[in-house]
Symmetry: C2
Subunit: 185 residues, 2 copies
Amino acid sequence: MKISSQAQAFVLHFGEMGSRWGFNRTVGQMFALLTIHPSPLNAEQLAQALKISRGNVSMGLKELQAWRLIELHHQPGDRKDYFTAAGSIWDLARTVFEERRKRELDPTLSLLRQLLLNEPQDEQEAQAQEKIQEVYSLLELLEEFANTLSKLEHNDLLKLMKLGSGIVKLLKLKSKLTSGTSNSE
Amino acid sequence: MKISSQAQAFVLHFGEMGSRWGFNRTVGQMFALLTIHPSPLNAEQLAQALKISRGNVSMGLKELQAWRLIELHHQPGDRKDYFTAAGSIWDLARTVFEERRKRELDPTLSLLRQLLLNEPQDEQEAQAQEKIQEVYSLLELLEEFANTLSKLEHNDLLKLMKLGSGIVKLLKLKSKLTSGTSNSE
DNA sequence: TAGAATTTTCAGAAATTTCTGAACATTAAG
DNA sequence: CTTAATGTTCAGAAATTTCTGAAAATTCTA
């Protein structure tokens, strides 16, 4: 469990950024370490490498599993649980993207849907309702777009992301070809 | 400063979600209230409506200004500062998107760039370096894509987001038309 | 089934973040 | 310049989150 200073910096940074990405410092560090380390690690090794308690590692692993970011391995003749980051970097990014969509968008969509069911009782409320509707429409569109992106095959996603301002041209091209017809799905 | 229960729920929810979106509870509430309220509000009104201290409001407003999410107004004959959410819901979404990109992507890109400058000293480090490079490439692509989206005009962005699986068809169409030529920008 | 190895849980400790309110700073008006 | 109105700051209080470590639970082996 020797860690190069290189890896050290990587791990520490992901710890710092962790909170911005939706988990706490040690969970961020654990994830970074599992990502950068070539072989699976067990709880003991994680605790030692990151200088945190065994209990904390256990909780962290549970959270990373809830995010579907790590997977369990076993070494023959060893009862300990070993973990690695789940899949390629791209898989991980996709998973983080999807989990965050779920946590950051869905609860709000669901609340706003609720609020929109009420009949506004006065002018004040009617105006508020309108604003809520605007927010709702936007978030719904975002959610659908995020969904579309999630479902794209790796190659298509790559192409799309590399288009740059070519996107505009493509959109223009499209409206020329299909002018006058509705077209999602 | 009477707030309908409708608005109340909206404000409280944005408080709860606040931390997931990058600010704390009261800042989330302040932002929600300024968004849903039809007219500009001053610090006193915010403090009263949200039952928080005057000092807290001052700090919150400062943070919302750092996010460029609110703008200052003045009522003739009144020295107080009044605030509203800055621009339309779409403007706000764009701003949040850009600020978050800055805070969540840029620091990491900059660290990884740093790390990649070092020559790996052994096999272990070389492997780590490779992983870092993968993460870096992905985040860089993400950053560029986010940039592209930020720069799209409202209408183009809307069209793109509504494409749904039509995106795939469009990408296919494009590769047919330009097969063999490079094309970002 | 006993017992050793491993993982999980969770009460309280520690660390961190947020909030208050009083002191201070700034501004505008007279 | 003085005063009153408003805005800002920041030390410490309060609230929240994270972490530890010992006890409990689980799992495997013999």
